[in-house]
Symmetry: C2
Amino acid sequence: MSSVLQTVLDGRWAAVRDEVRAQMGEVQTDPSLPTEQYRAQIAGYVAELAKTGRPHQGFDPAYGGGGDVGGVVAAFQMLGHGDLSLLVKAGVQWGLFGGALQNLGTARHHDRYLRDMMDGTLLGCFAMTETGHGSDVQHLRTTATYDAATQEFVIDTPEPGARKDYIGGAARDARMAAVFAQLITGGTSHGVHCFLVPIRSDAGDALPGVTITDCGEKAGLNGVDNGRLVFDGVRVPREALLNRYADVAEDGTYSSSIENETRRFFTMLGTLVRGRISVAGGAGTATQKALTLAVRYGATRRQFSDPATGEEVVVLDYLAHQRKLLPALATSYALHFAQEDLVGRMHDLQKFSEGPLAGPSSDTAPVQDEQLQRDLETRAAGIKALGTWHATATIQACREAAGGAGYLSENLLPQLKADTDVFTTFEGDNTVLLQLVAKTLLSDYARKVGKLDLLGKVRFAADLVGGEVAERTGARSLLRRGDVRDRAHQRRLLVAREEHLLGSLARRMRAALKPGVDQFAIFNAAQDHLLEAARAHVDRIVFDAFADAVDRAPSTVRGLLELVLTLHGLSVLESRRAWFLEHGYLTVSGSKALASGVNELCAALRPHARDLVDGFGIPEQWLACPLLDGEQQLTTEAPAEEAPADLKAVG
Amino acid sequence: MSSVLQTVLDGRWAAVRDEVRAQMGEVQTDPSLPTEQYRAQIAGYVAELAKTGRPHQGFDPAYGGGGDVGGVVAAFQMLGHGDLSLLVKAGVQWGLFGGALQNLGTARHHDRYLRDMMDGTLLGCFAMTETGHGSDVQHLRTTATYDAATQEFVIDTPEPGARKDYIGGAARDARMAAVFAQLITGGTSHGVHCFLVPIRSDAGDALPGVTITDCGEKAGLNGVDNGRLVFDGVRVPREALLNRYADVAEDGTYSSSIENETRRFFTMLGTLVRGRISVAGGAGTATQKALTLAVRYGATRRQFSDPATGEEVVVLDYLAHQRKLLPALATSYALHFAQEDLVGRMHDLQKFSEGPLAGPSSDTAPVQDEQLQRDLETRAAGIKALGTWHATATIQACREAAGGAGYLSENLLPQLKADTDVFTTFEGDNTVLLQLVAKTLLSDYARKVGKLDLLGKVRFAADLVGGEVAERTGARSLLRRGDVRDRAHQRRLLVAREEHLLGSLARRMRAALKPGVDQFAIFNAAQDHLLEAARAHVDRIVFDAFADAVDRAPSTVRGLLELVLTLHGLSVLESRRAWFLEHGYLTVSGSKALASGVNELCAALRPHARDLVDGFGIPEQWLACPLLDGEQQLTTEAPAEEAPADLKAVG
């Protein structure tokens, strides 16, 4: 059973995943080492990784890359089953630094640096975040001022808040930084652009004008050398500008294929979406590992006796314990397939078939690609936010489910917790990301309205005044009658929530368009509404991705996966049942059926819990820890094999 | 304003708190030290602490103690503003080991050990938890078999799961362990009792028959030396039994003032309630520190611009940021006063006025005291569970609210997170504790029924069949009409939830009394109901404790505190509004008013956020970190003083 599940979960890049599983067999990291030693160990494995040729797979075939963008992300994610410092350190080199070079640079940069970057002989870092600006990166303060006399850019940190901060790779290893700075030429600022700036000599010393400091110990990820960069009149040649979207001529004339400064900046950022997608994936695999540990422990640990038999009860047989782990496990399945779908979309969009310059939303790309790119970015933001929050909450639950043993480093859960914690705020703070999602949804909504014919607009306007789509069609009373365990009905509820929240949000936001109003106050008063609208959208697309995967699955596991989907749907709906009640989409009995449904599905999936976590296919050597010692005893005492339950009986 | 708040928060033991604040000025710990050095540092401070005479204050005056049980817990909690390893290490010595000695021992133990324990010249540990039994400590497997021939107990670890595990102090410092073991004499087991067992020589070597191993690195609290103990035929004299509740005569005859084995065991455990109360307090102060850091940072950090002014907005002015921090701040206030009330109840109950043997639920105590003790234990369990979960969630939110800076060790939040994480599962796993609370509530409920006269029983039986108390009195429709921001109405809702959940739980549990039923299945199917009933009870008592404190507060801050209480009440009710809707206690508009009420109260309290965290009175040197560097800039640029808002306008 679990091997079929693994095939389904491994999906499109199964071969890549298996390759990484095999490679990981030789990786033995030790996060308990003193920081400098651990950093050296991780840097060593990054060099080893480069030798495998695996990172090359994500880059332009014209330069010796493999052109397999999706495969490289799938491979990257797998490192989350192993060491997350290695995952992040590799992500800095090939995802962030390499991604900027590939996607924002042009032939002159690719010719010179791409191969060395892939080979790991040119180690780089990604210097975007500043002490004063993390979420609002459009307003970074670092400057790159063009000096026409020498045909150079001068990189400066004009104030303490403009210091580059938390930069992975900066403290120890990086020789070059992709520095995001306000481009100034002829006294005019043209917004943030990216520059290749050497920061260290081959010997490892900071170059003149560059001050490098160490961020020191962090909650986790201490194998990554995060540092700070301050620039004082650092000169780089004109060609250091990664000029795919904009360039400065020798005389200082600025030109860009994208007129609007904001649009240009976000187009550039958009090409870097892979980083965000990779973080979501890493959070997912780390969560799978925590769930595997907690479920397997819970299936052997016994505590308190059954009064009838006197036998001690396996803790995973307690409803409260199931409720801690099994809905989270179901949601991890859902997010896994949503991630798989996301990676596939990115892969199909970021083809290298059009030559070295092609890639995400190339400036010559057709409009359709632009929309696909926009959709990809929205999905990536949403899935990253929900996925990393899910990781934080679930790994915490797994830690608690393992009691005192879960607090010991030897049992791996503390490291998983500590390492993944930052995922909720890096590569975009989750709250800010959900805001981005909502804003995109709002403008799509407005565009949809713009395309309506006259009658449509009248109807829509009436709707904006008086009611909502669902109400108008009488759908609400229909919704109140469905079975909350039915897939189609679950989806209808999720869609109704998504549409209702977005429609009512659009109405509130219309107030901000009137002249003279305090736009910030209107926006701010609706911020919780806005975030919930975004979440509703992401909940629906995650559900759809999982449902699609269930339909594609072989019949041997389809019934089981359908149950997992049902539990996921029930638990999402249960967490939002107050909203459904408040807005008339659920009756009281329907609402109560959600809680009892979750309980019933927990019971139904309990016998399959081990299979479900085994399906993640995490190599045993990455799970080995004293927490699972009880399993050996179990195997000796009684074979753990269970008769396959009749899935129909609970479906 | 904040100094008045501090006076109110400091409460009954204000002088003790100030004394600790002054003492802490000299404490400079460094959790980033290598583990052995950090352990040594913490052990050194424990020795320093002993010299201050402060720990002595909690013990019997007849032996040089101060008899101030409440004061010593208040002092202990204050260490949570500083270093949590020091807090836990001190808690092991004087709370757990000292508590067992004081409360389970008699004159023969007190004469010999109490003074040395207080002075810290006898370092001890508390060896209860075993690898195989953590929550279900009644079924520990370590044995203490009486050998009448030599008048000794023989301590043994009969199986791997009986190994004492996670024992603070065992790995490095403790010379003696309070070992909980099944007492066997004449071939009969009498249940778990506590024995004083020397484990290390003065030189620090393990004594013969004792195998000590180190639990190694943990997620946090690495200044505490947790270890494992295995006993192989370790002989201790008959007098090593802490014999306050039971004794073994020279000939091996067992005697106890408490006939029932289970009742005896839980009476013994009950005397150790101080440990649980102390953990709740430590979680509270750690949470206050995290909130102080996050609120102060949020009040200086700016990100994104107001479109009207172009000025960057202070992040604490965003609704989403307020919602992350301010309801949690309000609940921290509520829990602080609930804790203060709890410590006061314990102090008043655990008086030493009756001589050296008196203490918690002395076997000669009147019945009234027994009920008070039972109530104290229930409150302690409930407040510990809710308080430590609140700590984990809130410190996490604070970390995220500080973005990347919150992930750096230099900004203190990672250590707070890591150190407090184990609080949810030690001194009683929270889920198990809430179960205890519910079981006590159920038996109190049954007793109440037992005391009813005939008419009352008939009414009650009718009630059990058909409805609930609230419904019978028509209270439900009344409840639907109230203002959810009104204190009395909030309380009515909390009480209705508590009574309804307990009443319906009692009805479900009655099914388990029928002969032939599967008791475990009935219990297990209702486990989520049971846990929610416990939570409802604790929510109500926490609310009451806060409300009482508001009423006692000086008029200058009473209005502000009333707003904090309102926000706390709203956020508890908001989190459970689905239940209120499902059970007819809230109308849709009442339910929606909860969310808008939370938003309004966040806005109302925003100008007072700094005062509210300053009220916790955390010494500046314990907060100093780069995260707060922005404040200096603010002070230079513009004085942070704000005009006192008109509280009435928002009340």
